[in-house]
């Protein structure tokens, strides 16, 4: 008999996150799935993912590529008849999947991008498109580097990618960011 691993506290866990309080109200109408522009590429459509959450299939949810294919377009969010903050829950699932190392290999590029972005912002206070892309290419996206090269060179020729220097906060600003980061780590998050 098919008996998937079930964590009965998973629904409560998701419901306790900011924005997660209405997950239990889902009526499985499918408006989200019907609206979602990237659903065809998801392991589970948004509706399916919510069904999995509600019956506690934690591992299946955290190893699904669904949150990583989500483009944060908020179309599901504005159409859900139960006003569930679907997009915000997708973000929460991404964070959980990273934290627990459950995400599958096909989501690697998305995870690397998010983590690289976070490190750059923590370090300099601002994101540099050039640095972000450089780091991503070097972290195993060689095929993409090859495909993007003509576009990248065109942007450089048009003067739209500063090749040197970096925009960053003042020393005082960076100190503030560091203090905030330390305080957040001490609090252990939300």
């Amino acid at each position: 008999m098919y008996a998937p691993a079930i964590d009965e506290s998973f629904l409560a866990e998701i419901s306790s996150l900011p924005g997660g309080d209405r997950v239990a109200l889902c009526i499985q109408c499918g408006s989200c799935s019907g609206s979602c522009p990237t659903a065809p590429w998801m392991d589970h459509s948004p509706r399916q993912l919510f069904a999995l959450i509600r019956c506690g299939m934690r591992d299946a949810v955290l190893s699904s590529n669904t949150p990583w294919v989500c483009a944060s377009c908020y179309t599901c969010y504005v159409r859900c008849p139960k006003e569930i903050k679907i997009t915000d829950i997708m973000y929460a699932l991404k964070r959980l999947a990273i934290k627990e190392g459950k995400a599958k290999p096909d989501t690697k590029a998305a995870r690397v991008m998010a983590e690289t972005f976070e490190k750059l912002v923590n370090k300099h206070g601002r994101n540099s498109e050039r640095d972000l892309m450089q780091q991503l290419y070097l972290k195993g996206q060689f095929g993409k580097l090859f495909r993007d090269a003509p576009t990248g060179m065109k942007l450089v020729r048009l003067g739209r990618i500063p090749m040197f220097g970096r925009d960053r906060l003042t020393r005082n600003g960076l100190k503030q960011m560091k203090s905030i980061l330390n305080a957040v780590e001490e609090m252990g998050g939300l």
Binding site: S72, C73, T87, V121, R126, R147, G173, Q176
Partner: protein, 295 residues
């Protein structure tokens, strides 16, 4: 007119979208609108940061709000992602006591505090609703001559709902373009997602979304596309030729920031608009349309 705002540029306008920033600043100067850049602003976090950490994401966004609050003006940004993130931070800050308490505790460690009063605005909103379309029409020096433009909003300007415009079929950019003498087309996919950063992390998905949007623009009879978000602009402009070869199409639209078109209509110096800094030069098309308007 006395319109003055605190300006939050966002990280993209220093690089790939620098002509969005420059044309916006030039247009603001021409119209007598003051945009004072928020000193020492930090990255809003966009989509990526919130995917990794939640509280810190709210905090870095709130730092900007805390810095802007004592200045007493609305905070204006030209970027959809920055707009939605700052707005979302405000919403959670004001609606959720836990978020509010923890964010302020973290900000306090840096000697900052936020009371939740900053109004976050998108540049388009300010131009359409504060400056006003009638006032804008009066300042038009060169009508855009019925230029057929697909007004592309992207997602995060209109969703989640902020009361600014319809979440599915918004109109304010169309109205602004019409006030400049252009002809906005009936563009079905005007608020459909371009895929944003999926172009980096899940390329094939984003390419499909962009192809749908370009096809819809073509079907609407557009000659050019106007955008209001740095990410949408990059996606539509830089991926057009790849989509042409992969999907066997012949898309050939100049993709312009709406502020570039405003600049043309208001008679702003070309050097401040960067019209020739895109992948497809819009100038021949503009000259044709505008000459007809003058004739």
């Amino acid at each position: 007119m006395g319109l003055a705002y605190t300006y939050y540029p966002g990280c993209s306008v220093g690089a790939t979208s620098l002509w969005y920033d420059r044309s916006l600043q030039a247009v603001a100067k021409t119209l007598g609108i003051e945009l004072a850049e928020l000193e020492d602003w930090n990255c809003c976090g966009a989509t990526a940061y919130m995917s990794v950490r939640e509280l810190m994401s709210f905090c870095i966004s709130a730092r900007n709000l805390a810095l802007a609050e004592p200045l007493g003006r609305d905070l204006v940004t030209p970027c959809n992602a920055c707009f939605t993130v700052l707005h979302k931070t405000n919403r959670y800050f004001n609606d959720d006591a836990t978020v509010r308490e923890k964010v302020n505790k973290a900000l306090g460690a840096a000697g900052l505090a936020y009371k939740g009063t900053v109004k976050v605005r998108h540049a388009l909103d300010v131009l359409v609703n504060d400056f006003g379309l009638d006032a804008l029409t009066e300042r038009v020096k060169h009508s855009l001559g019925g230029l057929k433009v697909a007004a592309y909003y992207g997602c995060q300007l209109v969703r989640p709902e902020t009361g600014l415009d319809s979440t599915d079929y918004p109109v304010i950019l169309d109205q602004l373009l019409a006030s400049l003498g252009a002809e906005p087309t009936e563009f079905a996919m005007k608020a459909r997602c371009c895929g944003a950063s999926l172009i980096v992390s899940k390329e094939n998905v984003a390419l499909d979304l962009i192809a749908d949007i370009l096809k819809s623009a073509e079907q609407s009879g557009a000659e050019a596309i106007a955008t209001l978000c740095p990410m949408c602009h990059i996606n539509l402009e830089t991926q057009m030729s790849r989509i042409n070869s992969q999907y066997k199409q012949n898309f050939n639209f100049p993709v312009l920031f709406f502020t570039q078109l405003m600049g043309v209509a208001l008679g702003v110096n070309e050097a401040e608009l960067g019209l020739n800094k895109g992948f497809i030069d819009p100038q021949p098309l503009l000259k044709r349309r505008m000459a007809k308007a003058r004739a």
